[in-house]
Structure formats: structure tokens, C-alpha cells
């Protein structure tokens, strides 16, 4: 297959798109923002017979709230997320993470659904979706199923999405009034870089104190998929989060992450940095809490 021979269809509804995905005569792939798909096409890794262009599917670009939680359409761009007042107040971690994805151009193009489908262990928005207990809705012509984010990824670049399925909704829980989040990222430069390690936290804290009464911590880029730091999470509840306590949790984080060495950093460096980002992140989070 040559790039010049590839076809493209642009379905005008989700239903039409699912029909196209079901047709297995020719190989096909979805394309939305293109920040990943086109790069892979240029590398000759993704060479479908047909591109199914869903960029214009307005019905999958929304941010709204109902009784079941906050709903984000898979075609919502990072810029949409950063600008959303609803998410700023009820899912602050996700807006912080979206702000650190690439730079202006990538935030304007890249979509949340694309970030999930690409399934990079370094994807910046994914740890935020972990701490917000995201459920990914997958639709095919025959069924709609909801997959908790912890079961969604199988490995680097791999998800449970079947060939005839597409992401049709992303549901997260709204943060509570006493809940506050933070996103920390380490990359070679500020803009446009892929995370060497990233860290996300969302903690519930008892009013007027530094006592955490429930919290979730997630690391990116330190394992084949995003991981929750469960041991660190259980430590959060033991004592008020003072300097000493935060340092102790950071030491446990060093042991809890399981990174590999690759082109971007060595495993040991990643462990040190996971620990450092947790420490810095929790300091900053508590500082914001006190000033709130």
C-alpha cells in the first residue's frame, strides 16, 4: 500500500462510522487529530487501505455533567479540556494534565479519545483518568460496553478495543468539594516533550487540617501501563501530610514503581524522579490546599 493509494471516508454519524468499522473487506483505521496516526503513517507503521476520518463528528465532542458523572466526548481536544470551566472546578487534575500535553498546536489537534487509543505508557492525560475512576464506553454496531480504565490497557500501545469498536464516551467522577489534585511531569523540555515520568494525585482532605481522608495517586511512564501507587495511597491516611510524612511516602514510591530503561531515561533515574515528583507534587498540593 502506498500513501498515495490510501482512501478516506468521512462518516457523518457514529452509526455510519461503526458500519465502516464492521466492514472487514479492507483494512481501516480511525483518524481524528492525526498527531499520532499521521506520524505512524509517515513511518510506514500504519498503512490502512482506508482512513476513517472522524475529525468532523461533532456528536463526539462535548463536555457535560449528569447524575452518572462527567461525560467527555472522545473527540474533545486538549484545548477544549483546558478551557472547560466545568472540568476546572470538578476535574482539576485533568485540566492540569491536558495543559502539559505537547504545545499549543498539539493541544488544538490532539483528542482525549486519541490519547486513550494510542495507549502510550507516557500519555499525559491517562494518569488523571485513573485517579478520576474513568470508565471508557466502547461501541460497536451490536453492543455498547463500559470498561473501567484499569482494565482498558493491556500493554504499551495495546488496549481492549476490538477492531469493530470505537470509543464513544469517557465518564469520570466529579471531584468532591474537599478534593484537590495536581499533575507533575518531567520531560527534556517544558513544551512538546514526552514524559520521562509523570505523577498525578487527587486527595480529599479534612477541612482546616492537613489530614488526608482518601486519595489516589498514579504514575505514568514507569511501567508498561499507567499504575496506581496503592502502598503510597494507604500511607496517605496514616498521619497529617507534613514535610516528614510526604518524604516517607516518597521513599515508598521509589520501591513501588517498576520502570524500564529506554531511550529517554534509565530505570534507576526514573525511580528517583518518581519519588521526587511525588514529593514535589504533594508539597505543592498542600500549599494550594492551605491557600484555598
Amino acid at each position: 500500500m502506498k500513501v498515495s493509494e490510501m482512501e478516506m471516508i468521512s462518516p457523518t454519524s457514529v452509526h455510519e462510522c461503526l458500519h465502516a468499522l464492521t466492514d472487514q473487506q479492507k483494512s481501516s483505521r480511525l483518524i481524528a487529530g492525526g498527531t499520532d496516526a499521521v506520524v505512524r503513517m509517515k513511518d510506514r507503521n500504519w498503512m490502512p487501505d482506508i482512513w476513517i476520518n472522524i475529525k468532523g463528528l461533532k456528536e463526539l465532542r462535548y463536555i457535560r455533567e449528569d447524575a452518572s458523572g462527567l461525560h467527555i466526548g472522545p473527540l474533545t481536544t486538549h484545548t477544549d479540556i483546558v478551557k472547560s470551566e466545568l472540568l476546572q472546578s470538578k476535574a482539576d487534575v485533568l485540566t492540569f494534565a491536558a495543559k502539559e500535553v505537547g504545545a499549543t498546536q498539539m493541544q488544538n489537534m490532539g483528542t482525549l479519545g486519541g490519547n486513550l487509543g494510542t495507549a502510550s505508557p507516557a500519555g499525559d492525560t491517562i494518569p488523571a483518568l485513573y485517579v478520576l475512576d474513568a470508565h471508557i464506553q466502547l461501541s460497536s454496531l451490536h453492543q455498547i460496553r463500559s470498561v473501567p480504565i484499569k482494565d482498558f490497557f493491556i500493554g504499551p500501545g495495546k488496549t481492549v478495543i476490538k477492531p469493530d469498536e470505537m470509543i464513544s464516551d469517557i465518564v469520570i467522577r466529579p471531584q468532591e468539594k474537599n478534593e484537590i489534585g495536581i499533575f507533575e511531569k518531567l520531560g527534556p523540555r517544558k513544551a512538546q516533550s514526552i514524559s520521562i515520568v509523570n505523577f498525578t494525585a487527587s486527595l480529599k482532605i479534612k477541612a482546616q487540617t492537613r489530614q488526608c481522608i482518601g486519595g489516589k495517586l498514579a504514575f505514568g511512564s514507569v511501567a508498561p501501563t499507567i499504575i496506581r501507587a496503592k502502598k503510597c495511597e494507604s500511607m496517605l491516611l496514616l498521619d497529617p501530610l507534613d514535610e516528614h510524612m510526604i518524604q516517607n511516602i516518597a521513599k515508598v514510591a521509589w520501591k513501588e514503581v517498576a520502570p524500564i530503561s529506554d531511550i529517554r531515561a534509565s530505570a534507576n533515574y526514573r525511580k528517583d524522579m518518581a519519588s521526587a515528583l511525588l514529593e514535589r507534587g504533594l508539597y505543592r498540593l498542600m500549599k494550594r490546599w492551605e491557600n484555598k
Binding site: 490510501m6 506520524v39 475529525k55 505537547g102 498546536q105 498539539m106
Partner: protein, 161 residues
């Protein structure tokens, strides 16, 4: 081959091309708008920046089949020699260009950014807005200064933050 209709710099364009050809190649090869440049080809450098609607994007990562009915502005649409934009004049006056390869992309990104704000941006704001545009020769001081100068000229009553 596909017939693709869209608007570029205020004019309607009809192009016959493979749908998986990049927008950048369509602009340069089919429409002879050679201001936008290819450099990294993977969305890291910003040399190919153009606006779709009012948002700046990398035209090297958009496929021709995706731009049907879209409105696109390239650096030629921001301004040419005879009708130069304030941003372009500011870049000349501040000496914010050296080899010039990254300049068209930076002009488009700066224009889109200035359209979206109503004050003279701080250095940090300019750095964030232009974070996706690399320049390998001048250093960024003069570029940042030029964007701030353009904002001041654009509206002398803008608040300096």
C-alpha cells in the same frame, strides 16, 4: 484521487489529490503557497503551522481528506509584502528573524495567539503560546519582544501585565 474543496486565505480552493496527502504538501505543491515549511514532519517544530478556523495547528499532520469545507489561513494570508501585518512588521523592527525558516510558522502561531487575547502578553505567556515553535538560530528574546511589540501596536490601550 479525491476532489477536495476548502477555503485558503479567503479564497475558495478546489484540489484534486490523494486524500492521505498532508495539508502542508497540498499548500506547497498544489496551491504554491510555499511560506509554510516542512522541518521535523512530526509536530515537534511548528515550521508548518497554519490556522484552521482560528486555531493554530501543524499542517504536516493533517490529511487533505480531513480539510473539506475548512477555512485555512497560512502566513501568506496573515500578510504579504504589500499588506504586511503588524506582527510581521514587529518581527522586522525587532530583528526577530535570522535564517527565516521557522519564521512563517512563528508568525502564524503569534497571530493566532494575539487574536485570542486582549492585553500585552507577559514573557511567560508568549513562551507558552509559542512553545511548539522551534528556532535554532536567533534565540527567543527578540521573537518574544516582537510579539509583545505587536500587541502594543495592535492596541495602544492594552494593559501591560
Amino acid at each position: 484521487m479525491k476532489n477536495i474543496r476548502f477555503h485558503v486565505n479567503g479564497k475558495e480552493s478546489n484540489v484534486q489529490c490523494p486524500p492521505a496527502k498532508t495539508l502542508l504538501d497540498v499548500l506547497r505543491e498544489d496551491l504554491e503557497l510555499i511560506g509554510s515549511k516542512e522541518c521535523c514532519g512530526k509536530g515537534e517544530c511548528g515550521s508548518c503551522s497554519v490556522m484552521i478556523g482560528d486555531e493554530v495547528i501543524c499542517s504536516c499532520l493533517v490529511l487533505a481528506g480531513q480539510i473539506e469545507n475548512e477555512t485555512i489561513i497560512t502566513v501568506e494570508g496573515v500578510g504579504l509584502r504589500e499588506n504586511m501585518d503588524i506582527v510581521q512588521e514587529a518581527f522586522i523592527n525587532e530583528g526577530a528573524t535570522q535564517c527565516g525558516y521557522c519564521t512563517p510558522g512563528i508568525i502564524v502561531a503569534a497571530k493566532s495567539f494575539l487574536n485570542s487575547i486582549e492585553h500585552v502578553p507577559t514573557t511567560d505567556e508568549v513562551k507558552t503560546a509559542l512553545g511548539g515553535n522551534l528556532c535554532r538560530c536567533t534565540g527567543y528574546q527578540k521573537i518574544i519582544k516582537a510579539v509583545q511589540t505587536a500587541a502594543k501596536i495592535q492596541n495602544p490601550f492594552y494593559a501591560v501585565k
